[in-house]
């Protein structure tokens, strides 16, 4: 017998009597009076920064300014650059800042669901030195239960709940922002 058959046979023999799944009542989960305020607060707690913007013009100006520095800046807000997908790690490691769109955002923990098509390249949100994500105010939900109700997480080949900049506390429990991934995260919340 193959390892697969052996393992499955042993599991079938040994698995305990059937138990039912629980009923998860969303009315019992935490709610917030002001989702934008709570999301911003949670994000601040994990080292990120939330900025509300009233118009896209504001963000466009910021991107223009960033690009003027001559650093490698990727703007995937309006349109994901066509060549982005083909860039390898060696090319992407020089990205100073990336601007991408995110989907559902979660007030209880400051995380944002970002899917592959929004990244343009799976490596981008992780390898960019600094990251900015645009979300829509109406996409903020109270907690993870609502997020997973709204998202089809298998819709694309890859997706991530991204919460704040990369961090570590592996040296004597001292928090250091900027482990391997982005050193900073700014989230623009569009009205």
């Amino acid at each position: 017998m193959s390892a697969r058959e052996n393992i499955l046979a042993a599991i079938r023999l040994n698995q305990p009597d059937f138990e039912s799944l629980p009923v998860i009542d969303l009315n019992e989960t935490i709610q917030y009076p002001d989702l934008v305020a709570q999301f911003s607060e949670s994000l601040k707690g994990i080292g990120g920064l939330a900025i509300r913007i009233n118009s896209m013009e504001k963000l466009k100006d910021i991107i223009v300014q960033e690009k003027a520095s001559n650093d490698f800046v990727i703007d995937a807000i309006e349109l994901v650059p066509e060549n982005l997908k083909g860039l390898n790690a060696e090319a992407l490691v020089t990205v100073k800042k990336a601007f991408i769109r995110g989907g559902i955002a979660v007030a209880e923990n400051g995380s944002i669901w970002v899917k592959e098509s929004q990244m343009g390249n799976r490596l981008l949100p992780f390898i960019a030195e600094h990251l900015a994500i645009l979300i829509s105010e109406k996409d903020i939900v109270a907690n993870m239960h609502y997020a997973l109700e709204k998202i089809d997480i298998a819709e694309e080949g890859f997706g991530v709940f991204l919460a704040g900049p990369s961090k570590t506390a592996d040296i004597e429990q001292s928090l250091v922002i900027g482990a391997h991934g982005a050193r900073s995260l700014v989230v623009y919340i569009q009205k």
């Binding site: 193959s2 697969r4 052996n6 393992i7 042993a10 599991i11 079938r12 040994n14 698995q15 305990p16 009597d17 059937f18 138990e19 799944l21 629980p22 998860i24 989960t29 935490i30 949670s42 994990i46 997908k85 390898n88 790690a89 060696e90 490691v93 209880e108 923990n109 400051g110 995380s111 799976r122 490596l123 992780f126 390898i127 907690n143 993870m144 239960h145 997973l148 997480i153 298998a154 694309e156 080949g157 890859f158 997706g159 991530v160 709940f161 919460a163 900049p165 990369s166 961090k167 570590t168 592996d170 040296i171 004597e172 429990q173 001292s174 250091v176 900027g178 482990a179 391997h180 991934g181």
Partner: protein, 456 residues
């Protein structure tokens, strides 16, 4: 190989009293952060109950869920492998390495690969593997193993890390700044990520419904490796299965809060399909898990999500260090998992506990850890795997406690000896005297006091 027992290794660890205190306080600080995070969620106890019930359900239907997961994963383009033993697991990894003729390999944290001793195996085959989690890289440089499943280098101080990085990465001697040291590791490991051809990751949750798997990190190292390399191998014990995507919400809410007090890890990545031109492999490992599933008293240890809350709260772990447990998964959960793998080699571990029950109280999936420790002790004692001294003492105690008159006489004698001849107990022959003063002997026993006072 002569492995020290937990008590012997712990004696070495606590010889440095200042460091022991620091270790104890550091982990207690993590436990307090967990409490703060848990108390911020009014439905915390509901969440634990839901998580526990989902896991119980999954174990009761595991055969079906694994088949469903495999089918969906294969449809997604993931190659699924099955390994009964650590040797099978390591061989599968090695075959993929050989077949693709790759040399540059990065690995993010995976306790399963530690359990299988993958690194040692690959070194024996002449293959170098770079651990990319900061804590794991530190211990890898030092030729040590992780002492904690979430905080691998928690036994080390900044000075130790600084010296290790000075030797291996050429950082300034005497610069202990964690920011500076982390920056050095970031630059070093970024060059490894960019050059990597193959990335190995663990798995936190495998979702039967989607055929995808979720990997959680704070540093971003799993993603840096997996998205840069042309081959991704993910390794999981079969108990990582959860039925549906909606259940992920329950576990993601619990995991980081229980582990470090964060509301969620920085990255909770859901891998569904390999990217264009990438190979994605998933190895499902048994290594004794199917046997544990068949033990009614111990099966629910397989509900564990590896948050390490039981480590941080355990008074014995905090004061003995992870290496004293001589196994990949230390702490209270390790002490109920490892006897299943090798009862003889790990018969000391269920005794590395005060049975205070704190581990069970913080466990996000409600594993009755302290009760299982006690049950393992019974099995170990009935198989005569406890030391002669402990057996004689225990038999003596059990005789004494079963004979009230003798017990009262012994108590009276003990109090008299401690009062009149304190040197009889205050000496190094008495294990209880080590590292602590004996308490002042009470004038009377509780029984005497109660008899005198009950009618007042």
């Amino acid at each position: 190989m002569n492995v020290k027992t937990h008590a012997e290794a712990a004696a070495v660890f606590i010889a440095d009293e200042a460091r022991t205190d620091w270790h104890n306080e550091t982990l207690w600080f993590v436990r307090q952060k967990r409490d703060k995070a848990a108390h911020g969620i009014p439905e915390w106890e509901h969440l634990r109950e839901w998580a526990s019930t989902i896991k119980n359900h999954t174990l009761s239907n595991l055969h079906q869920y694994l088949i469903e997961f495999e089918k969906n994963a294969q449809a997604n383009g993931i190659t699924v492998h099955w390994a009964s033993t650590p040797e099978d697991h390591n061989r599968i990894v090695y075959e993929i390495i050989q077949k693709n003729a790759v040399q540059k390999i990065v690995k993010s944290k995976s306790m399963l690969t530690e359990e299988c001793h993958l690194n040692d195996f690959l070194i024996s085959k002449g293959v170098e593997i770079v651990d990319t989690d900061l804590g794991e890289r530190i211990v890898q440089f030092r030729k040590e193993v992780p002492s904690h499943i979430v905080l691998p280098a928690i036994h080390l101080k900044k000075k130790d890390v600084s010296e290790t990085f000075h030797e291996h990465l050429g950082t300034e001697q005497g610069n202990y700044d964690p920011q500076y040291l982390t920056e050095a590791a970031r630059n070093h490991l970024r060059s490894k990520f960019v050059a990597s051809e193959l990335a190995i990751t663990g798995v936190n949750f495998a979702i039967a419904e989607t055929g995808g798997f979720v990997v959680c990190t704070n540093e971003g190292n799993a993603d840096m490796g997996a998205h840069a390399a042309k081959i991704h191998i993910a390794c999981m014990g079969f108990e990582k299965i959860i039925p549906k995507a909606e259940h992920l919400s329950v576990f993601l809410r619990l995991l980081a809060r229980s582990a470090t007090g964060q509301p969620i890890t920085t990255y909770s990545s859901h891998f569904v399909r390999p990217r264009e031109g990438q190979q994605m492999h998933l190895i499902i490992v048994d290594n004794g898990r199917s046997k544990q599933l068949g033990r009614p008293d111990f099966k629910n240890s397989l509900k564990c999500i590896r948050c390490a809350a039981c480590f941080n709260t355990c008074p014995v772990y905090r004061r003995s260090g992870g290496h004293s447990y001589h196994t990949a998964v230390a702490g209270p959960i390790g002490s109920i998992l490892n006897p299943n793998l090798d009862l003889k080699a790990n018969s000391d571990l269920p005794f590395a506990s005060t049975l205070c029950g704190s581990c069970s109280n913080v466990c996000p999936v409600k594993i009755n850890i302290h009760e299982q420790l006690w049950k393992w002790r019974q099995i170990i004692a009935s198989e005569h795997q406890v030391s002669m001294v402990k057996r004689i003492v225990m038999n003596g105690m059990s005789f004494l406690l079963a004979h009230p008159k003798l017990y009262r006489f012994a108590g009276m004698s003990g109090r008299w000896v401690m009062r009149v001849m304190p040197w009889m107990v205050n000496n190094q022959m008495n294990a209880w005297y080590k590292q602590r003063e004996m308490p002042a002997p009470p004038k009377q026993s509780f029984r005497d006091w109660y008899q005198k006072n009950q009618n007042k």
